[in-house]
Subunit: 372 residues, 2 copies
DNA sequence: CTGAAAGCGCTAACAG
DNA sequence: CTGTTAGCGCTTTCAG
């Protein structure tokens, strides 16, 4: 049953009066391209051009067991793939394009309930998978995936034996951010860590705690308010804190576990007539593209998301190729990417912009505007 | 040459001691599932479960001429797929997921030079294509695509006969934005239209002009500065204007053809110590996710990008299905989407936030800060 | 150097 | 109701 009306190799061959395989050899430039005489070769090329022949990727894929397609699985948060995802994706697309790979995206709402969709996703249609911030990859699930295709993770929550994972220096980044605030004179620094059951959040909490301890500031768990990695969670938690605390017990600085939370906080602060950074300082984490778009621009810990995307794609492509040629070369020195290493740690950097300054001389009084 | 180690239908059949096709019928639930006795059926299911058999999507795709994959082609601007693209993508992913379709992304840097990549992209690996803001689709190129797969466009620059295109009411949106500024008391309103060779930009310019005319304000082409649809272009054009104009000839309001331009402008305005909206008003276009993340939040014309993404995917899926069953039903009333219609126009809406207000009583004097 | 075969994994059409 | 056969479009092997 021929479905589409695009010319096939058979059509070209018929038209040129040669056999399919001659056309195949000519048109894909297989190793022995000298196997066809110049006359037939030219005739085939001419016919192919006239018919606008293009090889069918699926047929080739079935045969080769490879489609030149990398799959990306990412979480949608409240219906949206957020900027964080977006920047990683940019990196992946860049590397994929450079290596003539296509990119396919699967968005999942929750990891637990989507295992079947993910498994289906990798049944032949992708050569490998990149998981972006998977919540919980159950070991059996990870095994099931690996049976079909290799995969790598970015911000994996729990490390999986033999699986390469990209991580940023969460602990160090948090430490830097808090140290910066302390140096500015802050002593009461709140922390919005996002989801504390995520290992990244916990590492950031570690950095926050270590910095306080090293500066002789007592840890106050009323200043640490968990939530989610979203704008609206930032709004909610900030509002809670503003309604709960009196002016005197209110923090002079906020460290947020990502930029979205920071923006949510800032939105609420504005509603309460608190000026950033005069009345209160805010520091984020990630340095997503919109971090420099607020006024004042967000002071934040830069995580090289794009680079992490690039590297994950490079790693994956490497794994796919290695699998393809596993029997041919046992020499692992071919690649510049060390295969044994199971975690790529990326450095972070504090980007000082305009949302953090010295604490106010007098306690400020938050007053809610009636409506914005 | 068997490439992967995943169990195949043949494996299941062998293990269960039945013929391949029995396994096929049982495991995919084809029309006559009663064709197999319960005993064999159970045995097959049991074996399939034990072996963790999953059908190979590529093999099925080759046979059916359909992979359940929709392709999205978008432009990268300065190395980034921007928020605009991102929101449309969210809509596409949503509808794709609802219809059990996968989504594959191809990012192109320039449309002219990427025609081959696009053609290659649609050789079997996608069932249809969504073009996001294609610059110039040459007629022959469009024909070539259509030979392989159906496609739809979003913000197509020139309409292509028979191709469904999603557009927003650019003219009306621009009119609304400018009318709002005029109502606030502004008479000197600058317009940053982005690329004027794009039809969308020109329609926005029409709306701007019409509104000025209807309010008896003379059109001054010194106030209309073309550029690109980017943050950095907003910065550049704004800086140019600030350096060029004296305080007295400086506009009191800015209408920007998208949010990115508006943010770029605002960044420069801040550098020149101009306060938004006290000294100068700014209105954007699009209402991308980060529009509400600046402080003050951006007043902008909302384009339902997500909805446009959803609709484009729905349209495309419809076309793909129609193509699949073209010989079977000639009855076009099946679908709720009218097939003949070649343009979907989406309404826009002015979202009033905090970046526009009345013009200042006295002309303001921009003064550049030494460093930010 | 050329031709004929077989087969990737799956399904749709046939005979039995 | 079962089993066989052919084939989606392409490539690789093996004879000629």
């Amino acid at each position: 049953m021929r479905r589409s009306n695009v010319p096939t190799l058979q059509d070209v061959a018929n038209e040129a009066g040669v056999h399919v395989m001659a056309a195949s050899v000519v048109l894909n430039g297989a190793r022995s391209s000298a196997r066809v005489s110049d006359a037939t070769r030219n005739r085939i090329m001419e016919v192919a051009a006239r018919l606008q022949y293009r090889p069918n990727a699926v047929a080739r894929g079935l045969l080769k067991g490879r489609l030149n397609m990398i799959g990306v699985v990412g979480t949608v948060y409240g219906g949206n793939l957020d900027v964080y995802f977006h920047e990683i994706l940019n990196g992946i697309l860049e590397t994929a394009t450079d290596n003539r790979q296509n990119t396919s995206i699967l968005s999942v709402h929750d990891w637990e309930g989507s295992e079947d969709r993910v498994l289906e996703f990798c049944d032949g249609r992708v050569d490998g998978l990149i998981f972006i911030a998977p919540r919980t990859l159950k070991p059996e699930f990870a095994k099931a995936i690996q049976r079909s295709v290799p995969f790598v993770t970015i911000h994996s929550n729990a490390s999986i034996p033999g699986v390469v994972d990209m991580e940023a220096d969460d602990e160090g980044g948090a430490y830097q951010a808090v140290q910066y605030l302390v140096a500015l004179g802050h002593r009461k620094i709140a922390f919005f860590p996002g989801e504390l059951y995520l290992s990244g959040s916990r590492r950031r909490l570690e950095g926050y705690k270590r910095c306080l301890a090293e500066n002789g500031i007592a840890y106050d768990d009323r200043l640490v308010i968990p939530g989610w990695y979203t704008y609206s969670s930032g709004q909610d938690r900030m509002a809670e804190m503003l309604e709960r605390d009196s002016a005197s017990s209110f923090p002079t600085a906020l460290f947020c576990a990502n930029d979205a939370i920071a923006f949510g906080c800032m939105e609420i602060l504005a509603k309460y007539r608190l000026r950033v950074p005069d009345d209160i300082s805010v520091v984020g984490f990630d340095d997503t593209l919109n971090a420099c778009m607020t006024i004042p621009a967000l002071t934040t810990v830069r995580q090289p998301l794009r680079e992490m995307g690039r590297r994950s794609a490079a790693r994956l492509i490497d794994l796919v190729q290695r699998r393809d040629t596993r029997s041919l070369d046992t020499d692992a020195t071919q690649s510049s990417l060390r295969p044994g290493q199971t975690m790529d740690m990326f450095p972070v950097e504090l980007i000082v912009r305009g949302t953090a300054g010295p604490p106010p001389a007098l306690p400020v009084i938050p007053r809610l505007l009636e409506r914005n």
